[in-house]
């Protein structure tokens, strides 16, 4: 009885915090719109959503891999970086056009991530989870520093030459570039294909079955190792495409460029509910929007943006660790 009362009052408290956050957010938005005018605000939202779409391409890989093997693949942000560099070499050195370059980046990232899984994670599948987590961090550092060697990608910032000229359209005062249109278009196309694969195809259904119960999946004759590889491949293809789009949007690339977007996408996946695909998408859009709003409107925003992102992570863990779409972990009987 007492426990019940405690639970209820706790729930009320949590809702009160949600209400306060929602109110604060609303108040902040109203104040911002009044201060700077709606155009500036809408511009920030659009830029934020654009960033969020790119985060989503990384966050989906985090969340899918977590759903299947309960591992946070911290090397995922570095796979994203390899995608950016692959397209750089294809476009700048070999004069490939945009579409083949992005396809090549997706392919290279897929192979890379499948190899990482086979070499680094698969041998540890029955080890304590902390072992594979530390390995993931190790793989991440390895990719960053190995590719920073002068005979690989090199340690310096490289200017990325875009495969097409930038065009800017003025829509009632709001500036929209062809880059934004391309990013949103490609991301939506990839997300729809992902949804199709997961919902409709045999391997996609096997992925969902494996995420729910590995030994039941084995008893159906599902090759669980194959499904895990496929999941890493799918996540990497999205991250590779994300890397190319990110480099086109912010045309300075570096082998450490994957760290921050990778971590932000991780926060986004946790915010949406780790393991949930719609969660990763919604979380990423929120994350990207927050990022740009902080930079645009907060004093010293560009220094605070990362702080705010990780503050969100801490708040999610404190208030609702399962995130927006996450279901409470079912207890195993």
């Amino acid at each position: 009885m007492k426990v019940l009362i405690l639970k209820n009052s706790l729930r009320t408290l949590v809702w009160a915090i949600y209400a306060a956050l929602a109110f604060g957010l609303l108040w902040g938005i109203v104040a911002l719109v009044r201060m700077n005018g709606p155009i500036f605000f809408i511009q920030a939202i659009i830029d934020g959503l654009r960033l969020g779409f790119m985060y989503a391409l990384i966050a989906l890989g985090y969340t899918m891999v977590y759903g299947i093997v309960r591992l946070i693949n911290f090397a995922h942000g570095d796979v994203f970086m390899v995608g950016a560099f692959t397209s750089f070499y294809a476009i700048t050195r070999y004069n490939w056009s945009f579409v083949p370059a992005i396809l090549l980046a997706m392919l290279i990232c897929t192979v890379l991530n499948v190899v990482i899984e086979r070499v680094a994670y698969k041998p540890l599948r029955n080890a304590p989870r902390i072992a594979s987590l530390i390995t993931a961090i190790g793989v991440s550092f390895f990719l960053e520093y190995f590719t920073a060697l002068s005979f690989v990608f090199g340690p310096d910032f490289i200017t990325y030459r875009r495969p097409f000229p930038v065009e800017v359209w003025n829509v009632g005062g709001i500036l929209i570039t062809n880059i934004t249109v391309i990013i949103v278009g490609i991301t939506l196309a990839l997300l729809l294909s992902l949804q199709y694969i997961i919902r409709r195809t045999k391997i996609g259904k096997a992925m969902r079955a494996t995420a729910l119960d590995k030994s039941a999946a084995r008893l159906m004759g599902i090759n669980v190792d194959g499904v895990i590889s496929f999941t890493f491949a799918l996540g990497a293809a999205l991250a590779g495409a994300g890397g190319v789009l990110y480099a086109i949007a912010f045309p300075q690339i570096l082998t450490f460029m994957g760290i921050m977007p990778g971590l932000k996408a991780f926060v986004a996946a946790v915010l949406g509910g780790i393991g949930s695909i719609p969660g990763a998408f919604v979380g990423s859009l929120l994350m990207g929007t927050t990022d740009v709003l902080v930079v645009s409107f907060m004093p010293m925003g560009s220094r605070l943006r990362d702080l705010i992102a990780f503050l969100i992570l801490i708040l999610v863990f404190l208030i609702k660790p399962t995130g927006i779409f996450g279901e409470p972990q079912a207890e195993k009987v």
Binding site: A209, D213, L219
Partner: protein, 235 residues
């Protein structure tokens, strides 16, 4: 040649020896049951036959070939399907998708459709609920789904682990009727049950397991009237 022959099987989970010398066989067309208390090694035996566990010693022969080094996928393909303890329905997949997963190792879409029709004939309630999520079914329906899913690979040998667990008596009767029908249609069955009376009444032959060993075997109807068995398992 028996359909399945298990010889002196020893299986351990790490340092814990779950099975220490189990032997039994199944002839084509039979229903064979393994009975015994909790922890006697019944589920471990089934998991080993399905290839989820590797034995330390002993052998599992299916149609005369050893399958102790064969992958679970291959074993399903060879014609052994398991309906696991606790049913293990894929809760956020629909009934239809659960059944499709049962046919995962098969390629021919038309044949799969035919098998699904047969399953729906045996379990009409599944057809009514085909678009519902597995997790929203009642316990009895989930058991039917688990059995239907197990049949989707068109097994020659069906392993049933505690099909009556947690079901109301009237549903238990229904499930056991269906088991008899499945067997009559030509599928051999290895049945593991705590409900020994029920299991012995449908089985042809039975083995009694105790702490990881086979201690008694015989005709199911005879065991049903064996005083020792009655004392220990039929209360």
């Amino acid at each position: 040649m028996p359909l399945l022959q298990v010889e002196d099987l020893h299986v351990a989970y790490g340092a814990i020896r779950a099975i220490q010398g189990i032997s039994f066989h199944i002839e084509a067309g039979e229903i064979v049951t393994l009975i015994g208390a909790n922890g006697a090694g019944k589920s471990t035996t089934l998991r080993t036959v399905s290839g989820l566990l590797r034995p330390m010693q002993g052998d599992v022969l299916y149609q005369g070939r050893s399958i102790t080094r064969t992958s679970p996928e291959r074993i399903v393909k060879m014609g052994i399907s398991q309906v696991p303890e606790g049913r293990l329905i894929f809760s956020s997949l629909t009934v239809l998708e659960n059944l499709e997963m049962g046919a995962y190792t098969r390629k021919d879409k038309n044949e799969i459709r035919d098998t699904m029709k047969q399953v729906f004939t045996s379990f009409p309630r599944l057809e009514e609920r085909r678009t519902q999520l597995g997790g929203t079914l009642s316990g009895g329906e989930q058991q039917m789904l688990a059995m239907g899913r197990g049949l989707m690979s068109r097994p020659r040998l069906l392993l049933l682990d505690e099909p009556s667990m947690g079901l109301a008596p009237i549903l238990v009767d229904e499930i056991f009727e269906i088991i008899k029908t499945i067997n009559a249609q030509g599928t051999s069955i290895l049945l593991v049950e705590q409900n020994a009376a029920m299991a012995l009444s449908v089985a042809d032959r039975a083995y009694v397991l105790e702490t990881g060993r086979t201690v008694l075997e015989g005709d199911a109807k005879e065991l049903l009237h064996n005083p020792e068995v009655r004392e220990a398992y039929l209360g």
